[in-house]
């Protein structure tokens, strides 16, 4: 989920949208792509699980990549896509600072109380 470097930053194709956002969307929408997401470094609190960190990030991501961190926008895209793609969660490997936290990510990626 990392598309760093100037070519990914540029607004390609004449629209006011950076290339990295298109790459993220393309990866999420492609069932043949396995995704790896590291939640380390995202805002958190002491008592939170990895799922709590993801949910809070996706919630912040509602403001869009223009007004908030790109990672939050990416988590929001995963959450939105999980509405229509029940297999999405199964092709994501979750990490926290490089360590496997898949066991903390069981259950729905939808917002709490939805679905």
């Amino acid at each position: 989920m990392t598309f760093n470097g100037d070519p990914y930053a540029y607004f390609q194709g004449g629209d006011a949208v950076p290339q990295w956002t298109k790459e993220v969307r393309s990866a999420i929408d492609n069932p043949g792509v396995n995704l790896a997401v590291d939640l380390g470094g995202l805002p958190s609190e002491e008592g939170w699980t990895a799922m709590d960190v993801f949910q809070a990030s996706a919630e912040r991501g509602k403001v869009g990549w223009q007004n908030g961190p790109g990672t939050d926008w990416g988590m929001r895209q995963i959450q939105i896509s999980s509405f229509d793609d029940p297999g999405l969660a199964g092709r994501i490997d979750w990490y926290m600072n490089g360590a496997d936290v898949n066991s903390e990510m069981t259950g729905s990626l939808l917002p709490p109380g939805v679905g």
């Binding site: 006011a16 002491e46 939170w48 223009q66 007004n67 990672t71 926290m96 600072n97 496997d100």
Partner: protein
């Protein structure tokens, strides 16, 4: 193992005479960590398939993390942290404790200085001149920078709110979006962007 069980196991290792106690995490849901809090220090312990995942906090900021395989290591590291050992002593005693240069800088009260250096060193060619000029400006250089998919400036190292976000739209051309995200508030080359940031923020 349920969260209450994890706390009980860790508290048993601490012993009845200990000043410290673990309790279920604030969310109190299945899988939530056991948390030991003492004054400005806290430690959260998650039980995963691979062992115990620890995070070390001070005044609401995560300063280190680590994985341990034994209850005795978890409790030993937790107690040392709660006693105010500091990151370097903690990781010397328990090498599974990891922290970044920036996390150490937060502990030492020099996060802004270190973050500017990290951002300057990591800036891609497209952002380098912008970051360099901002760092040298008397006003902008006092703000807290971040560089990822955009270059942002915040009031200080504890602020989550970006005062300004600058995007590299094409070589040597930057844009700043309007607050509603629809259209640009400003666009231009590096010199005029720095001038605009000063007029907007100073």
């Amino acid at each position: 193992m349920q969260d209450r069980d994890l706390s009980a196991v860790l508290n048993a290792e601490l012993g009845d005479e200990s000043l410290y106690r673990f309790a279920p995490g604030s969310r109190a849901v299945a899988g939530s960590p056991a948390v030991l809090a003492h004054e400005s220090y806290s430690i959260a312990v998650h039980l995963n398939a691979d062992g115990y995942r620890l995070s070390f906090w001070r005044t609401g900021r995560e300063l280190a993390h680590g994985w341990a395989s034994s209850v005795s290591s978890v409790v030993g590291a937790a107690v040392l942290w709660a006693e105010g050992s500091g990151l370097e002593r903690l990781s010397a005693a328990y090498p599974f404790v990891k922290f970044s240069e920036l996390q150490l800088a937060y502990e030492q009260g020099r996060a802004k200085e270190v973050q500017w250096r990290i951002v300057l060193e990591s800036a891609s060619a497209g952002y380098r001149e912008l970051v360099d000029l901002a760092s040298k400006d008397k006003f902008l250089g006092e703000l807290f920078p971040q560089l990822g998919h955009r270059f942002t400036l915040s009031e200080n190292e504890n602020s989550d709110h970006a005062l300004a976000s600058v995007f590299l739209a094409r070589p040597e051309w930057f844009v700043i979006f309007r607050p509603d995200g629809e259209g640009f508030e400003f666009e231009g080359g590096v010199g005029v962007v720095i001038s605009y940031l000063l007029s907007k923020l100073a």
